[in-house]
């Protein structure tokens, strides 16, 4: 049995979410995979917007819910995905291609495509406490992500 390290963080408001995203971005590396899970309105897109702005992306980050994948150019390319609408059916969308393109991949509702996710990745689960407060459970998978968490969290 593999026991994963887990970090639990309480965020008091949206600004805390933004700060966390900025801190994670500062330790970025090519082919970094960040998987976001949590109910609607829990802060997944807020996190991604902050991450993107730290990456130097000036385009407005809009929701990829309908289009599934949106691509942006920053210090590294950002591939922002929302796989909810696929309902687990990833055939033909070529999501796996993005894992090795040298950019950063942020996947919302990643739990719905668990089968194709790379073994090494960062999982972030958003839990809603009230209108503003969130608890984040952050689980690094693989050495690179464990080191990232140790550096930032």
């Amino acid at each position: 049995m593999v026991i994963y390290m887990e970090y639990k963080i309480t965020l008091k408001d949206e600004l805390d979410t933004i700060e966390l995203a900025q801190n994670l971005e500062s330790e970025k590396f090519p082919n970094m995979i960040i998987c976001l899970n949590g109910e609607l309105g829990s802060g997944k897109t807020v996190f991604t917007k902050a991450f993107a702005s730290s990456l130097g992306i000036t385009d407005t980050i809009t929701s990829p819910t309908f289009s599934i994948i949106k691509e942006y150019n920053g210090e590294l390319p950002l591939y922002h995905m929302d796989v909810y609408r696929l309902d687990g059916n990833t055939s033909g969308v070529n999501i796996e291609d993005y894992f090795t393109k040298g950019g950063i991949v942020v996947i919302e509702w990643a739990d719905t495509i668990k089968d194709i996710l790379p073994k090494e990745r960062l999982d972030i689960k958003f839990k809603v406490l009230d209108e503003n407060k969130r608890v984040l459970v952050i689980t690094p998978h693989g050495k690179q992500y464990e080191e990232l968490c140790e550096a930032v969290l």
Partner: protein
Amino acid sequence: MKILAIESSCDETSMSVIEDGHIDLGTVILSQIDIHKLYGGVVPEIASRSHVESVTVVLEETLNKANVTMDEIDAIAVTYGPGLIGSLLVGLIAAKTIAYIYNKPLIPVHHIAGHIYANNLVKKMEFPLIALVVSGGHTELIYMKENYNFEKIGGTLDDAVGECYDKVARVLGLPYPGGPSIDKLSKEGKDTYKLPLPLNDDSYDFSFSGIKSAVINLVHNEEQRGNVIRKEDLACSFQNKVVEILTKKTIKALKEYHVKNLVVAGGVAANSAIRKSLEEECIKNSFDLTVPPILYCTDNAAMIGAAGFFAYQKGIRADLNLNAKANCNLEDLL
């Protein structure tokens, strides 16, 4: 001039033959469901979007329907973006291949330009105009001074209208897509829940993630208090706010840009409350409103053929190096 148009930016593969930018000689839209029907059941390899066979089937069907041969086609128009790269490439490679084999000019068309030009299939577009583009993935206000000249004056900062409807529908336990479900249910309800008017400012931008969160919080709070949510009333309250802000900013744009013509584009144009509200305001202000029929509102190649004609007249061409773009600006004409 007859243009063979190809669109494959998202869920559908579609081809069409359009004459002079406004006559639809024949359009075929092949959805995943049709592909399954065609082959008698679900065949995984065929369901795969990248399968070349669906393209050749749609091409044959389109030429048959339009009753033209490839010799009679003057140019090929194709959506190069924005969209899913994998999906876009299917149409793009088909277009490049056809253009190469039959030696026809290739016209690159932006997906949103296509949505706007769907209106030309209904009625000759008069300029200047304001286009409100509302679809699953887009919410934009575009100012067009003249034919094939686009200026984006505003857009969503987060969710598109369609996405917001889908997410609120998820919260209310209504079926996908959320637009028609909420539109239908709201007719049985009253505007009783207090929700914010999203991004009610002087800009032409929209933001729908706030109202989505407001609905979620309202549902949570009511549940915690043990109150039952009146879904029809919440659907109505939500829709009213969305319609109010869309109408307000669109009409403001028409007034401030001194424009008399409004065209609506995209799948959400089918929403009855949005249509009604815009119709009322346009009558009140003597603006001329055009909304395409549903078939031309959702993704289709006919609109690409219509836009392609005007792109061609403007001298826009691509060579065989044309590449698909997941993200691209409407203003940066190729």
